[in-house]
Symmetry: C2
Subunit: 493 residues, 2 copies
């Protein structure tokens, strides 16, 4: 029960009680329960029972409450809804015109990834971007969180850190996580973020001016397009082929190039060595900055991952990393590695957006890396994903023949549909059969002729035993769709 009397009021006490009750009734507190007895309310408010009775009598007279036998008083919602609140008439006079007030979002015309966040309800959730709860190192994470609440860690877990980061996490990132990507960084070149996306956002905010040209991958990560466009950039979609981004198609006038070299989003192809070299050389020639989104380089199952672009060029490459793919996206932990002047600015931008990522999560993650639990979890996660990857590749090859080429890593497969079969149609039909997959359409630029030709099949969250039966159902759906062309589809000629 929440009845609040005004702090200072010249009105008689019973009127104050009456008004507070009216407000509580309007807030719905007594929609389903009766009002309190005068005895208990008097006690609660520290006023006399007589005062409460006076308030109740007045409300009965006004019809605001009605007495009910053996129950007490009930709110009379019919009267409440009609009668204006005392003294509120002025306040009710004007309305805010939100349509006019809200700023136009610069990215409002871009396609949005459609996700079914209720994916656990599907028997075959081939969703991308989620992880399997059973692979998350729950025991180790709980232990790290608990230790982070003990001396001396508790200080770092609870305090307001201003614009600073947890030095232990920065140290672990530098010596362990970044080192495996070949990246060397001083503490002044590292910033912890609320997920990789936060790093992309801060970078765009610090660097992009209205109409700056930014090259993005096409198909590519829709969210980075939103972030860059939201910062005022003019997006230049650049095609992707089997070797990754077509560097030769990037306009020299670009100010920045956004790229996912390890496993291109969404195709999962790796940027080839000649393309990497061409990209870095062109960046120097044309004064481009490179935004390297290295969200899941560790999840490679064949050969070794190439060193990060930032390992080769620490001058022009802004590196964004994430813990979302092999720990959990719900933790929202990421980081940026970039030259010191940029990190300093990102730190200020961060200070006035979220201040800093939660200290408790930073310290727990640092402890997990320090004690090796993180590395063990990563190995376990990679082994489990590798098994799924093999099963996926084998099954998809059977279904699609040589036209399907499995990627060397990642957590999804990008499948080109047979001619005459459209992604939206397949996604909808598959869902009816309990199979959740994603259309590739939102990864393409607007009106791209290939937008409806691809689907994305994620395998990080689905249990391994569901993969083959799920793909078999999907294969049937695609086969059926090919036999009964969608006559009503107006998406493609």
């Amino acid at each position: 029960m929440t009845i609040i009397l005004p702090e200072d009021s010249s009105e008689p006490l019973y009127r104050q009680v009456r008004n507070a009750l009216e407000r509580a009734m309007r807030n719905g507190q007594f929609d389903t329960v009766p009002l309190p007895s005068s005895r208990s309310l008097a006690e609660e408010l520290g006023v006399s029972r007589n005062t409460v009775n006076l308030a109740y009598q007045e409300m009965v007279a006004e019809g605001l409450i009605v007495a009910e036998e053996r129950v007490g008083y009930r709110a009379n919602s019919a009267i409440l809804n009609e009668k204006p609140v005392e003294g509120d008439s002025l306040l009710r006079e004007t309305r805010v015109d939100w349509a006019q007030r809200l700023k136009r979002r610069l990215d409002e015309d871009l396609p949005i990834i459609k996700k079914d966040y209720n994916w656990q309800a599907y028997p075959y959730p081939f969703i991308y971007g989620q992880v399997s709860n059973s692979l998350f190192p729950i025991t180790a994470w709980n232990r790290a969180l608990r230790t982070s609440m003990e001396y001396p860690h508790v200080h770092w877990s609870l305090k307001d850190g201003g614009s600073g980061d947890d030095p232990l996490l920065v140290e672990q990132l530098r010596t362990t996580v970044l080192a495996t990507r070949g990246i060397r960084a001083t503490p002044e070149e590292v910033l912890v973020t609320v997920g990789a996306q936060h790093g992309l956002f801060l970078t765009a905010r610090a660097l992009l001016r209205p109409d700056d040209e930014v090259a993005i991958e096409n198909p590519g990560y829709p969210d980075v397009a939103h972030i860059l466009a939201g910062a005022g950039a003019k997006l230049v979609p650049v095609p992707v082929d089997g070797d990754g981004l077509r560097v030769d198609r990037i306009p020299s006038s670009a100010r920045m190039v956004s790229v996912t070299p390890s496993h291109q989003f969404p195709t999962n192809v790796s940027l080839s060595k000649p393309r990497r070299e061409a990209l870095l050389a062109s960046a120097h020639r044309h004064d481009w900055l490179i935004l390297e989104d290295d969200y899941d380089a560790e999840l490679r199952y064949v050969g070794r991952p190439a060193p990060a672009l930032r390992a080769v060029d620490p001058e022009r490459v802004i590196y964004v990393g994430s813990f979302s793919k092999f720990l959990a996206p719900g933790l929202r932990m990421g980081y940026v590695v970039a030259p010191k002047p940029l990190i300093e600015q990102l730190r200020l931008e961060r200070r006035y957006t979220v201040r800093h990522p939660p200290g408790h999560i930073q310290r727990a993650l640092a402890l997990m890396i320090l004690n090796g639990d993180y590395q063990r979890a990563q190995r376990k996660q990679r082994a489990a994903l590798r098994e799924k990857w093999e099963l996926m590749a084998k099954t998809l090859k059977l279904a699609f023949g040589d036209s399907f080429k499995a990627p060397t890593g990642g957590t999804s497969m990008w499948v080109r549909l047979p001619d005459g079969v459209y992604a939206d149609q397949v996604v909808a039909e598959a869902a009816k059969n309990g199979v959740l997959i994603e259309s590739g359409a939102s990864c393409f630029s607007a009106n791209h002729p290939e937008a409806q030709r691809y689907i994305r099949i994620g395998y990080a969250a689905i249990p391994v035993e569901s993969i083959v039966p799920g793909l078999s159902k999907l294969s049937k759906v695609i086969h059926e769709a090919g036999r009964t062309p969608n006559a009503t589809s107006t998406i493609l000629p």
Copy 2:
């Protein structure tokens, strides 16, 4: 050790090993330790020992490494620093001009709160904005985090939630936290944020156009000034007196009014009832939006807190709440309550800045509220702060006499210095005596004549037994400063 061979390379294997080693040396991996033995490196890389030996021989010939008896090879940093990296000559040619690249921050001229984040090193840390670790409900929080990793909660803790919030937390906010402030809200009117500051940021971003006038409190919260100015607003500082914001001094042309009605930041005065009514009436008259930062309303020790402005006017008031003051700032949890069209836009803005606040923390907080641990912790926190508040008020009254008026709540006291004594001077002298206090200067608009007249004494983090001795030392410092006027001070005439 991190030696990475390129993914695909036409170079002979021994050259690949050599180049990888050179890169590792340049990254400082062998600054202090010798290079690995050829046997262990061959094993690590999965190449023959002969290949490694060839690589080592070539590097010896180039002078890049030197053999040392009984140790092995060591990097020759002198040569490394002089010689350009193979194939890197082009890359080294150009530098980024960061000064030109970085966007000018619109808030760069505003004063910044200076905080000593090493406050625990002071014997008397009268710091504002930090909490006492000993009052944090560690056991209950650990339990809630652990439960959040169990079925069915684990799903909500780990998953990518897109633009959504944890429905359990939203429910607990609505029925418990907001209800105690008299606020009624539908789930569509609530957004969870990474601290209150994130809520202020998203609101500014969604609503403010370049040169929109926004009234702010003077003195006021410097960070909100940064956030509003960063969104392009033209700030209009409005004076504050013993009844809070001088509503009559807000220009009618303002588009938004930023206000801290419960305990004004930094003075801790409460906005009086007539001022509240005038503010809401004027807002309707002039089409202002009200940004209500209600960061610590619960921490009131005399009388009852007045209902939130949003409880009275759900049309024009955007309410921002925080868990920083009575749980911990390091958790970075806050929320916004506002009309549905605005929340929808804030949700989109949030999606492309941080996606969502960490799921694990959302769920654990929800469980703590649900099982009552949160309310118990709040009562304990409030009781402890009340005790400190009494001690602070009593001691400061003794030191400053009737000129000092204790506030009715909050976690700090705002003290006017005697004539001829300046805040920066007192802060510096106090620090020498182990007493950490804050200058009020950064809370005032630029060149404000009163900027050096106030100090802020926070008492949330300091142990209760340190309050009286700390204030006694501070009192001596102020007394001394009054006797020896700071002849070199050029801050004030």
